[in-house]
Amino acid sequence: MAVTTRAESRLDVARIRADFPVLSQTVRGKPLVYLDNAATSQKPRQVIEAMSRVFEEHNANIHRGVYEFSERTTAVFEEARAKVAGLINAPSEREVIFVRNATEGVNLVAYAWGRDNLKRGDRIVTTVLEHHSDFVPWQQLAMEVGAEVAVVDIDDDGRLRRDQLSAELRKGVKLLAITHTSNGLGTVNPVKEIAAEAHAAGATVLVDAAQAVPHTPVDVQDLGADFLVFSGHKMLAPPGSGGVWGRTALLENMRPFLYGGDMISRVTISLTEWNELPWKFEAGTSSYVDAIGLGAAVDYLQEVGLARIHEHELGLVSYVLPRLQDIPGVTVYGPKTLEDRVGVVSFNIEGIHPHDVATIFDREGVCVRAGHHCNQPLMTRLGVPATTRASFYLYNTTEECDALVGAVHAAKKVFGV
């Protein structure tokens, strides 16, 4: 079947790949085909070197020393914050809080905002597309304070049921916790429209952008969110880096998340005054080298261009989707069109459990995720225990899509299906 990509990629993928040392590795003699980017991304030399430079040239704890090395490290760390603020178009870098990952970001909001703002009988509206990181914290908080959680369903194409969402919002809502982009299906929610609707219904809006910030331009002011969280490790940065963005007015009125060093302005035996934003939320020695790595990753992504990265990934989806769907016994879950989706393709092969699929793929050098993708309510909705998921990034190629399709045939051959 003749399928061409939607648009010839405008990325110089060969040059990009040369920046990623791990991509030249082999797996059992076969080239590494890394298609598990929704789980975590690989790291370019530029990020690795930015982090090495701290350790090799000027490492010292941030915000503390009055000597040159501490000042230099602090400066690079705060520069990284400014870069992140620029990436998501935050009105102020004081609104960007460094955390370990999106999960910690949601927990920060759940503890520091949720506990003071959600009461018995309040309603939290969320969706069946949420990663556990944007579901379990709300479920548990609701149980603790006696709030109610409403979960909006999807249609059979993996698109959010807007009618149901509107109905839930109309019933009253204190918080809308919604994913920008589904890690399980690749669906992109129309967050801007939804946030406006939720605000009109009186909600505070938290957006889980863990699968969005790495792959598409995200503008917090344009989206109209109140909180937005993301992970660094999914966007070329090291694990241990990530961010929460929140509106100043909200952050100012929140209690701290963690107590301890660096987050204070004055401590006496009887009371403590908090540091100003954003440091009020950054207790203890932070993962400052990881944050610096995140800053370098932001530079890298912006140089390539997030709109171009998104376009490149859609090109890969348009290439691989019909090829997968053409294989007898393969079921693809989620959006079948290129509209409002990212480079995540979830599927199953009839008669083969996803774990067996992934094990056989591994022999072909193809790394994919098999499991519930921290998305058990979604798996239940789909009526499957698990799926196999391929997820693309800026360094993936159509040849790797061919390897994926070849691996599906290999698995079918082994199992005789």
């Binding site: 083969i352 459990h353 996803p354 774990h355 067996d356 094990t359 056989i360 022999r363 098999a370 499991g371 519930h372 058990q376 798996m379 499957v384 225990p385 698990a386 082994v414 199992f415 005789g416």
Partner: protein
């Protein structure tokens, strides 16, 4: 020839031995691997301290289901004490294939359910929440 998905493994997966509910079961234990969605119920009929009959009900990956199937063939006729003495190394050796670290839990789900049944457990120690 695939080193992990050998013909006999796939045969046990596609044609599981001793599969389905066991009438007159005296010992039953259900377990699962939430990570991958493998489900397994092991049922024993013990009389006179011997495994009179054994069957399992399961769904999941080839490794978990084949391992359980192979195990049921082995324990039929054994004494309860012999069943209790079966350990993980024995099961892995008996499978006869290299099991990667990420798949060990799949390979041992059948054993875990069998042990739970043999010891008459309602929940695995430390996982009591499952009993609720």
């Amino acid at each position: 020839m695939d080193d992990m998905y050998r013909d006999y493994i796939l045969d046990h997966y596609k044609n599981p031995r001793n599969s389905g509910p066991l009438e007159g079961a005296t010992h039953t234990y259900h377990d699962s691997n939430p990570l991958c969605g493998d489900e397994l119920t092991m049922q024993l009929r013990i009389s006179d301290g011997h495994v009179d009959d054994v069957r399992f009900i399961g769904k999941g990956c080839a490794i978990s289901q084949a391992s359980a199937s192979i195990l049921t063939e082995e324990v039929k006729g054994k004494t309860l004490d012999e069943v209790k003495a079966i350990d993980r190394d024995h099961v892995l050796a008996n499978l006869g294939i290299p099991i990667s670290p990420a798949r060990v839990k799949c390979a041992l789900l059948g054993l875990k359910a069998l042990k739970g049944a043999a010891w008459g457990l309602t929940a695995w120690p430390g996982e009591e929440v499952k009993a609720k």
